[in-house]
Symmetry: C2
Subunit: 460 residues, 2 copies
């Protein structure tokens, strides 16, 4: 089938403004998956996404899980054509710290061609490009050139635990030739990219308890173990002064970065000085012996994500806190096993925990890293589609973020994923003032529309 490109281009032009307005509707829904109080918002977001597929005449439903619901949709069958599974998520990260947002996180606001809102890039805006590209085909050609299945979940930001079960139990229903996810970034403004590697993650919270309640630090200090003192000692032991993680056996299974790949990264011409300016720091830091891109894309890391203990208000309070806790996470590279790391970490912390302190290590989510082969016809098709949508050939990159479902798909469905990121590195995902460049939004829709055409050339 020949793609009605001029008709599609015209449709995208004429409807672009409405697409933005529709995206804003979704962005206004506070679908924060980590916070139980947002349960109704989560449901509303799922129903809103469902409504989009209903309008397109797709078979679709909201499927309840033990956690947040999954939206599943399927386009009318195109016999003999490849089947593409589009994955995305309608849930978002908590918007904290709220006071650092220039415009409120759930009131989408355009400034300088960027749409500011929690979830604008991650992932409502990016996911939506693949819905609008399908609409363009349906409304112009009357049909799609490929079979599309959509799996849009509500627990990506909290570990996708129920999605994993759903994939496992619905292998037939989800059967496909290739998977498409837009939840990553371009290499730089004006330089689109396909991501072929993602880090895994193992996220923990260490909770320490000392005395049964807060005590006067003068009367009791120095004679009773202070859980905050214990916490900094235990957590500090996780990394040495050379940026190396000290959990026993942590590096045992790490796939080394091949010399050829290091060379390829070097050729991308990453500019440390630019990166520092963008982040507002005067120096970079990290594991000794690796470049910034190697650290970000190919080396495992450990970051504290939160610390809580004692008095956090204004001024001073001489309290010996009853409790202290730290949220922290490891980003993993290929071959590292989150379960093995959890077991080793648990043993290490138990040894470090001093007398008089009770420890509880909560494991939030663990997923292995993933690397996708570069030499498939799907990769080539995606590269052509992106060139048409963005006007420039994509480069091939890795990313430090984790999309747990990619390894689940590989394991359960035996299918690889195309990671086609429309975002930018400075989009502030997971941070205040998250944004999505509206030009990238429209280029993403166009690239997606071409992708359906390019993939249709690959017979199932």
């Amino acid at each position: 089938m020949n793609a009605p490109s001029p008709a599609i281009d015209k449709y995208l032009d004429e409807n672009g403004q409405r697409f933005e307005e529709e995206l804003c509707q979704l962005l206004r829904i506070e679908s924060v998956s980590a916070v139980a109080a947002h349960k109704a918002d989560i449901q509303r977001a799922a129903e809103w996404v469902l409504g989009q597929f209903k309008t397109l005449g797709f078979a679709c439903e909201v499927i309840a899980t033990a956690g947040h619901p999954i939206v599943f949709a399927q386009s009318p069958t195109v016999a003999g054509a490849a089947t593409v599974l589009v994955y995305g998520h309608y849930d978002v990260q908590p918007p904290d710290p709220l006071n650092e947002w220039i415009s409120p996180p759930f009131e989408p606001t355009v400034r300088d061609g960027n749409l500011y809102a929690r979830g604008s890039t991650d992932d409502k805006g990016q996911m939506f490009t693949h819905v609008k590209s399908a609409e363009a085909w349906i409304r112009t050609a009357g049909r799609l050139p490929v079979n599309l299945k959509y799996l849009i979940e509500g627990e990506e930001e909290v570990g996708s635990a129920n999605l994993e079960k759903f994939v496992d139990k619905n292998r037939q229903r989800l059967a496909c030739d290739i998977i498409v996810i837009s939840d990553t970034s371009q290499f730089a403004p004006g330089q689109p990219a396909i991501t072929y590697g993602l880090k895994g993650i193992a996220y923990f919270e260490l909770r320490l308890a000392g005395p049964s309640q807060d005590l006067h630090s003068g009367v009791f200090g120095g004679a009773v173990a202070n859980p905050a003192n214990a916490l900094v000692r235990m957590i500090a032991a996780l990394i040495n002064e050379r940026g190396q993680i000290q959990v026993p056996g942590f590096y045992d299974d790490v796939a080394p970065v091949a010399q050829a790949e290091r060379e390829q990264m070097r050729k991308l011409g990453f500019d440390d000085a630019d990166f520092m300016r963008q982040l507002g720091v005067e120096a970079l830091a990290g594991e000794e012996g690796f470049t910034t891109l190697e650290r970000r894309w190919a080396r495992p890391t450990c970051d504290i994500n939160g610390l809580t203990s004692g008095y956090q208000g204004e001024g001073s309070k001489t309290v010996l806190p009853a409790r202290a806790s730290a949220k922290f996470s490891f980003r993993l590279v290929p071959n590292q096993d989150p379960a093995k790391i959890e077991a080793s970490l648990r043993g290490m912390l138990a040894k470090l925990c001093p007398p008089g302190i009770k420890m509880d290590l909560v494991a939030y989510h663990g997923t292995p890293a993933v690397v996708v082969p570069l030499d498939s016809p799907y990769m080539a098709a995606a590269s052509r589609a992106i060139e048409k949508g963005f006007g420039k050939k994509p480069v091939f990159i890795r990313e430090g973020g984790s999309i747990p479902v990619v390894s689940t798909f590989h394991e359960k469905l035996g299918v690889d994923t195309l990671l086609l990121g429309w975002g930018q590195n400075d989009d502030n995902t997971h941070s205040p003032n998250e944004k999505f460049c509206l030009a990238d939004f429209h280029r993403g829709i166009k690239a997606s529309a071409h992708l359906w055409e390019e993939l249709s050339a690959i017979r199932a």
Copy 2:
């Protein structure tokens, strides 16, 4: 002059209930000195205290400072009698964490003979005993047997910075023979005590800043210095695994605990098992080579009072925080100089601060430790008064808490302080569910009434 003891006893009996009600009025005022939003409450508390002295016909005023006001009062002159300066404070610690209070911190509530409220022991309740004892003398004998001056401040819980200036500038006005402070504890229920040693304090907040805003820990982690990672490493370095403080030169000036004093502490028969039960811990901890009492009373300590960074809500958030901070304080023993320790700490932390992190060390308050001579006639007078009020001879103890003004008085006025604590160790000062045993409140008033009589025998 002979003390009208039976008349005073009768007056205290008949008015005890009213004294409790009056104390509750003061406890309802949320005079939290650390929090700027409570400025009006602070003023109200000062005015309330002033009202008490007005009723007694004392010369009195509320004196504005650069911070919170001071209440000063003076009884009518008794020629030839000793002059006693009573010091106390009407400000209180913040009530956080609020959710752990059984009854609200500013709604005084009696349970099992204890009055629960923030400030009940520290120091509104204890301070008030010396006001009511004066009232008993005035209303029964028509006059006091000694000259009383009262200095009741509103910044004790935030370091008494303005009081120090006030004392320095008002040496003549504050001239006295002895100072009395009730802001400490008895040794145990049924065992009153006189405190002859207090620790000093040096309180700090270390604020670290990394990237200009929170970042995605996957995309940026491992390549940008994480201020929370830096914080735990820097703060953990303050104490080693043997409980010894690692700030260079920290122990250089520490007065060793004399063998005789260690022996005397041993004789007090402190029960570690009891102490552990009271605190709800399964083991004690602290500096190697010292007993629990030695650690609490005579050895310097370092406690983290608060930690803040990143995401502290429910569940997980993969954020690389822009900022991290720790409040922490050292308790000092005789001969240690807070300024010297601050300088050494500042140098140590600057060396530990990694590239890419900006550090700001805020010094909140510093005061040296103090030890009062045991062989003065004032100490003997206090001992007799306590025996009369509490029905038992006091023991002589030290305490780990700090009352900055005691060393200020010694330095500026050249006068020693009698630390006559009516509280108990489990009164939860600085913690949720602070309480004051009502029997101790009334015994304290009686001891105070006798104290004025005992001190009147010492000629000025």
